[in-house]
Amino acid sequence: MRILDVQHLQKSFGGLMAVKDLSFHVDQGEILGLIGPNGAGKTTVFNLIMGVLKPDSGTIRFKEKEITSWPTYQIVNAGVARVFQIARYFKHKNVYENIEISTIPNEVFAFKDAAHLHEKVMTCCECTGLCTCHEHTGHCNCCTQLPGMLPQGALRRLEVARAIGTDPDLLLLDEPFAGLSPQEVDEISHLITQLRQEGQTIVLIDHNMRGLMRLVDRVVVLCFGEKLMEGSPQEVSENPRVQEAYLAGGRV
């Protein structure tokens, strides 16, 4: 089943065509890799899906509903969440409170069970490996830290936790490996695999293909805002046109 369907999406900034007649879809339960060299328009596509930017033309359908040009918060509530490349956390709130904001419903008078919200926050904390909770006392040790004190890897995990807190059906990850140490890359890959096993549908952006290929089911290659090709990781990495675009002929 197609969970996200993008048709003939187009966006230009002044004279620059950032996204040109782009069509692709995401199936339920898969991990789609969106790759391309720097400046290929990957993040712009995310911004268009999330309603941060309005497309010039084209449609975005999510779960059969057209969400083109909806405001961001509505798209999030419909079930799309995004992890930013550069962490956008609340620096005066601790880890727990950061995640809590994602779980709060968008209503002024919401009498949702507080215990339920607490549980949700703790689940997000735990499943992203942010907190190790004591089995017997239930006391968790790192939720009271301010995000500014966290290392890059943990910060990325906090971003994932904040995204998961909104209960997404589709998770958009924007360069989740950027700026991480090799060990942290492994940890985040592990986290993504884990999410996938739980049935989470994911779109993953990266310009570094190597780390990505193990994780994704299908790849869409962007170049200068256009779709260069689409296929399995194997097909894509063997395609000479992709190699041309990427490394000017070098092997990927």
Binding site: T72, Y73, V76, N77, R88, K91, H92, I101, I104, G165
Partner: protein, 358 residues
Amino acid sequence: MSRKGIKYLLLLGLVALLTILPLIPGALNTKWMTTITFATYFAIFVLGWDILCGYTGQISFGHSFFVGASGYTSALLSLYFKWPIWATIPCGVLASLALGLLLSVPALRLRGPYFSLITLIMPLIAIKLVLIFSSITGGELGKSNIPAIPTPVPPCPSDAGPDVCRALFIQYQQYQYYYALGLMALVAIALLIISTSRIGKILEAIRDNEEAVEAAGINTAKFKILAFGISSFVVGLGGAFYVHYLETVLPQEVLSPTRSTEIIIASVLGGMGTIIGPLFGAYAVRLGQEGLREAANHIPALQFLNDWALFIFLALLIVLIFVARQGVLPALVGAPYLRKLKKFRKLGQQSVASKEVS
């Protein structure tokens, strides 16, 4: 104890203290009772400012606009139409609320200095309007004989001696004191509840990173309008009661930029974005200034303080912005205590560890 618990405890302490104070014989003369009543109304304005500006981080330099809007509406309605004040005060509050919601529309589009500029201009426009319609508003001289908030205290009989009149006046002052205190306590409790609820958390998060709040699926515009509504409602409520307490309505009393600036000073001093901090800040600014003046009047060596009271407060504020930017109260209650606690814990762990090694 949680931060929330400390806030309620501090509020309870303050209200209890202010409730008991007039009951202690000789503790308050009429002058100080009046000063505290003024301070209590001022505290309501500061509380209203904090839930909007302290929490969402959009600084309004013109909150006296809402005091004036509500005050003039209620005062003029009761003066010209002879409506009872229980009808005019809600009208004043509604006027303030309506203007607040109207202002929130440009506020959602404008950020930073542009928003502040708009708030700065609003009371200036209002003052101009008061002067233009001076046949109705009394212009610069304002209007007096505004009906007072009724008390059970009878007016002084014409054949009574000055002592009787004086006793009645003190009694009257006491009623007004408790009216203001009751109103402030209600407002403070309501705002503490709101600010520690999910609404408060969302507003704080908006101050931190609005985009991230949108990305969490929350309509930030809706919550900012809500904050505007609550703020203008609270300040309007205080403003309407205030003019009936004063029994006059004057542009320099309810609309002046000085009043708006004082509101900001009190909030920053107490610690904006905490509700309880600005509340204490309001009393500190008002009673502190009066205290300095009192000292100047009684001690000849301190006479210079008479002119320097406001200067000292402003200078103090500048110093505080450097040493305790989060405000005096949070600095006193929060940080050092927590730091010490952490240190002790660390020391404890280290000593345990060293014992295990040895």
